[in-house]
Subunit: 280 residues, 2 copies
């Protein structure tokens, strides 16, 4: 059984990005990520901390724009437009979901597509959906693809089952897998015979957001399992959507949680910021 360690992928991306950032700095360009956060949600703070460390680790600068939960929509949008105009900023991460008082579509539309390193604009979504190469894919599904790529797993003709149909993971991942010639099945809460479908996959990607929902009965020998879930147990421990102990005893390869997809996500964000700076 192979553990598909995210750390290895992170190290490889870091090495490449450090070189790219050094080259940009020689040209007088300081790759910079703006983080826009409304409120103090724990999830957001945790992701922000990780992203900041990872970005700084390769020489990317961070500018934070933090608002109280009751910020008026106009003020938030005004800031985003200022960021669009600010040539010292190359990428923008906006934490979502936003408070219900704010129209998510208005915020997405305000963002300049060329700075949309988290893939939330219509242009980025069309890019992933159509495979036309425009914009940026969301970071988490890109992290899954980076892991598969790093470990030399060819997708052509493989039966890949994706559990989850969210716009941040399931759907973009399905599109990216199809683009790489995989035969893709998307399962979700309304799927019948889930065990039968997941067991028949060559590669199983679980992005359901439900701790331990995939166990021994869902898998079979020879499979590769990518666990996108990041759930917090009552004891405060991180755990995936897959029961690691029982599944890892059966399958050929699996990503751990923590130390799997989640850890690569920040590296993809940093990679997108560098790409945005290079495109200037």
């Amino acid at each position: 059984m192979t553990v598909l360690s995210g750390k290895e992928v992170v190290a490889a991306i870091k090495s490449k990005l450090s070189e790219d950032v050094a080259a940009l700095k020689e040209k007088g360009i300081n790759p910079t990520l703006a983080i826009v956060r409304v409120g103090e949600r724990e999830d957001d703070l945790s992701y922000e901390k990780g992203a900041t460390t990872r970005c700084k680790g390769v020489g990317i600068e961070i500018k934070k724009f933090v608002f109280p939960v009751d910020v008026p929509q106009e003020e938030l949008i005004k800031t985003i437009k200022q960021i669009n105009e600010d040539s010292s900023i190359h990428g923008v991460l906006i934490f979502r979901p936003l408070p219900k008082t704010i129209d998510d579509n208005a915020v997405r539309e305000a963002l300049a597509p060329e700075k949309d390193v988290d893939g939330i604009t219509d242009k980025s979504m069309t890019g992933v959906y159509s495979g036309n190469g425009m914009g940026y894919a969301p970071c988490t599904p890109s992290a899954c693809m980076a892991i598969l790529d790093h470990y030399g797993i060819d997708l052509t003709g493989k039966n890949v089952v994706v559990v989850g149909r969210s716009l941040v993971v399931g759907k973009p991942l399905a599109m990216m897998l199809i683009q790489k010639n995989a035969t893709v099945t998307v399962c979700h809460t309304r799927t019948r015979d889930m065990e039968k479908i997941t067991s028949a996959a060559d590669i199983l990607v679980v992005a359901a957001g439900k701790a331990g929902m995939i166990g021994a009965k869902h898998v079979s020998s020879g499979q590769i399992v990518i666990d996108v879930g990041i759930n917090v147990t009552e004891e405060g421990k991180l755990t995936g959507d897959v029961k690691y102990d029982e599944v890892s005893a059966i399958v050929d390869a699996i990503t751990p949680v923590p130390g799997g997809v989640g850890t690569v996500t920040n590296s993809i964000l940093a990679k997108h910021v560098v790409e945005a700076a290079q495109k200037l």
Copy 2:
């Protein structure tokens, strides 16, 4: 065995649209579709003829903008912008693929999303991909959904296999089916064990663009088959992607070609034009 006749669906849509158009005309609104065509491709001319008849049949007016194959890109885009500004036009159909001298993305971006009744703009694509209800879905996958809906086929929890991953049919259809709670598998030219996968489906939708590629060995009893293919035989006859005679002898229900999905597509176009006029 049930023949899922497109004509029945067309009749139902026509009846509803005729009422809607009459109501609009009472308010002084004449629902109008602009058709933009470059060159004289036979496919385009045939589709144009069908769409024109269907639209006029419910009282929708047609304005044609026809250009020679060597039209400069600026001229085409200038016309699209004039159409955007023209309040007497509610929907636009642009025949594609355009000649290689013209940048498809520039043309798509020039079109006002609110007149994009054929679902080619980023906003329409994001609408289908994300399920956020914005814009218009492409007409052919919408026609498939209309047939399934007309015949009362519930999709929740069904295993639906889509053969084809194009941006005009396969991908949007997969998204629309997922939105309706189906478990969806997308197959394509690189899929292995196609027969095994298609035979296991509850509903099989074939949009491969390859005459007769699905035969008896690909299907099983109890299935519903939707044939999106419109191919022309050497004798000039229309034929689907499914071998109708041998497949219809096995499955529970099937759409014929001609008289199936293709015939409903024009009705969806007309429906979108009426919706665009209603939204004014």
